[in-house]
Symmetry: C2
């Protein structure tokens, strides 16, 4: 098989596949106790949210990644889900490990609740039955479920190059079943390498604790432990069940037998450490028979407390190699491989840290020796197929050689030092802080525009399925309950019609339309001949006007007369403007502050005022130092990847300071504010300041009326207000923007963060509701 | 006043004003008889169409221009309306003169019918009353009504510079009333200069014919005639009525008196040759009193048979000067000016061609002397105000000096030569032909895109009010019955949502969306690394593929393998493509002919196939000559102002012919077809061929499905079909266009002209209906 792969595929193709992870995690209070709060409403109907739901308990989160083609994408998305949830659970935390937090008696464990529908009632009944049969505490053990399937092209090509004695479905099923059987044989190694459950809390099940030692406050463990979760302390059927994995039909038959014999109620109660999966999760066995195996689910992996998402990227990538090993490794004829496999699992889980022997084909073999044999074979695969993953194999070799390198050992040490609760909570707090600092980013999509990341993040939170259609273009689709929307750059959507967008994109047309609806716009005229403009100039003498080239470049050619000008001055300004462009505008000048009103549907979602880059003195630091301090804000970055930009000290800043009799070494007095540039662009370090709650309603109504006049649903209204504290103040609409950025409102420098993305999703018709 | 104008205004400002024309015209059959057909349905509800309606008779068209600021715009629009109507009345013609065609007895004259509504019933009743009171024949006299008002800025400035003893409304009314009084004094000159009714038909009223001579077949006239329409043969109240024009109040009072005295039924039955007009046409007198005079209507102007629209541009521009003359000319204190004015009108109308004397302030003055005095004063105005209209004043001076230069005389000569019917019909036929030749243009808007002109023309036809919001941008608005639509470039409208447009504008996204909906698109992959593309190339060996740079320039870097290629060939093609761009596409090649399906809403409005520039031999002419002949088609022009472009003999044509062993001097055999270029662009002389009725339904359904899949309402679907005669043929969608040109379907080189504009208007919700 290895040679077939070498002959048929490039390394790119070999490493292509379909991967996904489900990660459970308990919500806990500030003292590490299981939360009694409801699953946050913002995540919507649990059954309909494909990313964020609950497992057995109401307080047991389940984070589910979509299927990706690379481990990196899975890893990033899992972390993104963590970040999203961590910031929506108030002062609660996500427990960072598989073994539970402080848990109450069974009767007080909140079982997950669901919407009143058939599916919801079934889900609830299933959980009640589990509680009755297995007890509640064991259900709170959380884990990683890893899903994977081979690339379709690879499968097809393998089949094309096979003897074709069997049909494609059978061929594919047999490949997957070989992996399953080998998984059962070699899972002990995975448990050892990825195991992370070496401590349990005193509130956990008595029969488990009995045999353990108290190692620190509330913490119990034993020597050589690798994974309580995969040991007798963990989850499993009450009777040991061995399914038949020789063919899909036999597998299905064996499960049917278990059900007929009353050993389990349904296929999903068969707690094997690996599951072949079909297309239809509601008709598991029929689906396996009809369409064959679609993918495999590995269930032995503990949550890695040292990795925010619960599994490290290195481990995910190692799994890709492990999958290849399972696919390539020839099977022996040894009959009792399932019994040995289970025996080895239990043994490694409980005693893996000790110098133990395992059973291979009925014969004893040292854990280290066998482990090294497997890992060396994996290294050969890596070498022969040129996969370039040597380093991460070496890291796993280190672990098999030295128990102290395992997550389990490292975590036990931590617990010994800090006690059970703090060792866990400190990690959770760290992860939550990380999530907050990068709250404007969607992990794995940081190359996309911020506004798009923010919208996608909000969509994922609400269980709206997304797809990136063109990454460079920031083009995505969102789908929920059969509703499908295409969105570019967060605010270019289907709710706005094309004619309206084009009207907004044309200042002349915009002004005509607003003027007709009695919305104030700067009045003006356009001239294509200097002679005609001079003939008409008298009309504008002594009035506040702006004279400007139609297309302005960095404000070149603009003259502003806030208090009006004489004929001669205006004529000079016309000359100047015509030296820059063939078309010149004379426009009324409206005094005041400029605000960006973000209108979404029938409401103003945010009002923002931009201020040029500036610093505020403290009587101690120089301007240069103050800039450095200001730049440390995590909202500031470089290259538009953050809501604000770092202030750069360039020639224009130096010149500006010089013109104002300062330089970067000037020490500013306490409270002294100094601007650093003329322009207020965020892109050159300007500040965004939220004014949403400050601006009088009248101006909000004018902004909404402006948007409605032109037919816009999502619209950035740029308004100048002479005195924004006075409701009756003079104002003027400068421009309507059809692609307003949302990140400036979501994460302003100063003022309240506005959840604009939510408003957009609501406008698009993705309604918030617990049951939909 | 002249000096005030000189002091206050530039010549641009003086010539600015508001102008509009209404032109009546009888519909006639091929023998010159009054049509008995209904007013064409396409013009919709007569009461709601602001541009095209009927007057007294169902067969009496009334063409109404909107208000424009220049005479040129009025002139062009009037001609545009003529063109529109001329092509919608089948084999009928528009009678080119004020005096009627062959008319039947009163009982058989079809009175205009209207929708069943209050307004419609009133309109009908009014006409029946006119028939009873004045007879039908006289009602068929058609004319030009000229509306004008002064520019608002000019009026305001005049008031600002006045003594301000009266309020602005009174000031304005008094200005207009001065013009009215002077109009009544000097109208004789206008009648002489613009008069054109020197012949009547034998079917016209007996009492008029009695005094006339038969000058040719069916034609009656008399010596020195200028305007029967303005003579006793024309229209007028049965009793001579002189209104009081000293103030608006007195004017209104005098009309009320006429009504009280039973002399007229309503203000509109007062047939003065000039009317002061208010805002509300339904409450004429109240409106005049409340808001004052808004504009003036001149009613003495005959239709000029030598001008398609009914009035020449020169005469419209002369009227501007005449208006100034009336405004500036000081009035004498002579009491009986109204009696003299009417006397002079009758005299000039009937005897203007003779050497007659008129009465001025009770004293006789020779027609020529007085006329020259007036025209010389106008020449002074032109000179002093620097208006640059000397030439057209000179032309009018020629007319006053020489009767033979008048339209009336020239037309009488024509009638003498051809007879009454042919002299008229020949002109109508000529105008209709002109309308047809330029059927794709909207007169006055030829600088705009053809597609926009076509849409505007169709809108005007249907009585949809248009406004050009940005001419360079081809941005218009359409409005009817309170429904307002913004449209750019004819097909960028409100029915398409922005996200859909953006999806169509992104080929990758388009393909993903279509593919999901099982619409066939060329499958393919995008590569940004030559190494990776070469690693993957095996997949494409021996398959029909295109390898191309993502951004192509004139097809550079493209390799096509219609029958597949070997690994080496494909690799070379990749090398070649990567030499042109960093991103390269490998795409399935679909064989066949490419068609543009224009989907509008739920239907395919047109299917077009484009063929490279070509000529067809006749056994006589050289290729060069054949090109010259083909270029004579009126559909062909230069610079995208016509549906097709002239074929230019450039180096690429010469090279192409050379490569095919020909040159431009080759004489082609009869029926021999020769292409002149590789590319099929219309812009380089390609032919557009309509296939709408030829393509099987299946492909139309696929085109509609493609548009619907992406959510497009107006969509150009580019489809390749392997064998378009076979419904089951293979096909592929190449591209979806969100801004499809409509002119190519409206006016193809070959095949049926498709009224796509109508479909767009329907889709926008401007429904066709007789009564709306």
């Amino acid at each position: 098989m290895l040679n077939t792969f070498k002959a048929l595929f490039t390394s790119d193709e070999i490493l292509r596949g379909n991967f996904g992870v489900e990660r459970e995690g308990l919500r806990v209070g500030v003292k590490g106790e299981l939360s009694r709060n409801k699953h946050p409403k913002v995540f919507g109907n649990k059954i309909m949210n494909p990313y964020i739901t609950t497992d057995f308990s109401e307080s047991q989160l389940e984070l589910i990644t979509p299927v990706f083609n690379t481990s990196k994408e899975v890893y990033d998305f899992l972390n993104a889900l963590y970040d999203i949830v961590a910031l929506e659970i108030g002062d609660e935390y996500i427990w960072p490990e598989s073994m539970p937090c402080i848990i109450p008696d069974d009767r007080e464990i909140p079982i997950a609740t669901f919407c009143k529908c058939k599916q919801g009632e079934e889900a609830r009944a299933y959980r009640e039955e589990l509680l009755r049969k297995y007890g509640g505490k064991i259900q709170l053990i959380s884990g990683i479920h890893y899903n994977f399937s081979l690339d379709d092209d690879v499968l097809n090509k393998l089949y094309e190059n096979s003897s074709k004695k069997e049909d494609f479905k059978t061929f594919k099923d047999n490949l997957y079943l070989k992996i399953v059987r080998n998984y059962l044989r070699y899972r002990w190694l995975l448990i050892y390498l990825l195991g992370s459950t070496g401590v349990v809390h005193s509130s956990y099940k008595g029969e488990c604790l009995k045999k353990l030692d108290n190692i620190s406050q509330g913490a119990y463990s034993c020597e050589g432990i690798v994974s309580y979760r995969n040991s007798d302390c963990g989850y499993g059927n009450r009777v040991t069940l061995f399914a038949d994995y020789t063919s899909t039909r036999e597998y299905v038959n064996s499960l049917k037998r278990f059900i007929n014999d009353g050993l389990i109620q349904s296929p999903k109660e068969f707690y094997s450490s690996v599951r072949p999966k079909g297309k239809n999760p509601n008709k598991i066995l029929e689906s396996l028979l009809n369409e064959g195996i679609q993918y495999l689910e590995y269930r032995s992996i503990d949550i890695n407390p040292f990795s925010k998402g619960g599994i490290s990227l290195e481990d995910l990538e190692f799994l890709e190699l492990f999958n290849l090993y399972l696919l390539f490794k020839e099977e022996s004829n040894y009959k009792d491989w399932q019994i040995d496999g289970l025996e080895n699992q239990k043994n490694i889980a409980r005693n893996g840290g000790l110098d133990i022997e395992l059973i291979r084909d009925g014969e004893k073999v040292s854990k280290v020796q066998w482990g090294l044999e497997i890992l060396n074979e994996i290294r050969d695969i890596n070498h022969i197929l040129n996969l370039g993953k040597g380093e991460l194999i070496d890291a796993q070799i280190e672990k098999i050689k030295d128990y102290k390198k395992t997550n389990t050992y490292r975590f036990i040490e931590l617990v010994k030092e800090k006690g059970y609760i703090d060792s866990h909570l400190d990690l959770s707090k760290k992860y939550k802080k990380e999530a907050y600092v990068k709250r404007f980013n969607l992990k794995g999509f940081e190359d996309m525009e911020l506004s798009t990341q923010i919208l996608m993040k909000e969509a994922i939170k609400r269980g709206i399925k997304f797809e990136v259609l063109d990454r460079d273009d920031n083009f995505i689709s969102l789908e929920k309950n059969g509703k499908l929307e295409y969105i570019k750059q967060a605010t270019k959507t289907s709710v706005d019609n094309y004619a309206t967008v084009l009207a907004m994109n044309n200042k002349v047309v915009t002004k005509k339309i607003l003027d007709k609806k009695d919305v104030r716009v700067p009045k003006g005229e356009e001239f294509t001949s200097i002679d005609e403009s001079i003939r008409r100039i008298e009309k504008y003498v002594n009035l506040p006007v702006v004279i400007k080239p139609k297309s302005t470049n960095f404000g070149l050619g603009i003259s502003i007369f806030p208090d009006g000008g004489g004929k001669e001055e205006l004529t000079k300004a016309l000359d100047f403007a015509f030296s820059k462009d063939n078309t010149v505008l004379i426009e009324e000048f409206i005094k005041g502050k400029e605000f960006r009103f973000l209108v979404i549907g029938d409401k103003v979602s945010g009002i923002l005022h931009r201020v040029p880059a500036n610093v505020k003195g403290d009587g101690k630091h120089t301007i240069e130092e103050l800039i450095e301090i200001k730049n440390k804000d995590s909202l500031r970055g470089k290259g538009y990847k953050t809501p604000l930009e770092k202030i750069e000290i360039d020639t224009s800043v130096l010149l500006y300071l010089k013109n104002h009799n300062r330089d970067i070494y000037t020490v500013l007095k306490e409270g002294e504010e100094v601007f650093l540039r003329e322009n207020s662009n965020i892109s050159t370090g300007g500040d965004s300041i939220d004014f949403t709650d400050v601006i009088p309603n009248r101006f909000k109504e004018i902004a909404i009326k402006s948007a409605k006049s032109i037919g816009a649903k999502i619209c950035g209204v740029d308004m100048v207000i002479e005195d924004y504290t006075d409701e009756r103040s003079n104002y003027g609409i400068i421009e309507l923007n059809f692609n307003p950025a949302i990140h400036i409102h979501s994460y302003p420098y100063e003022g309240k963060e506005r959840n604009v993305a939510k408003d957009i999703l609501n406008l698009l018709g993705f309604k918030e509701s617990q049951c939909d």
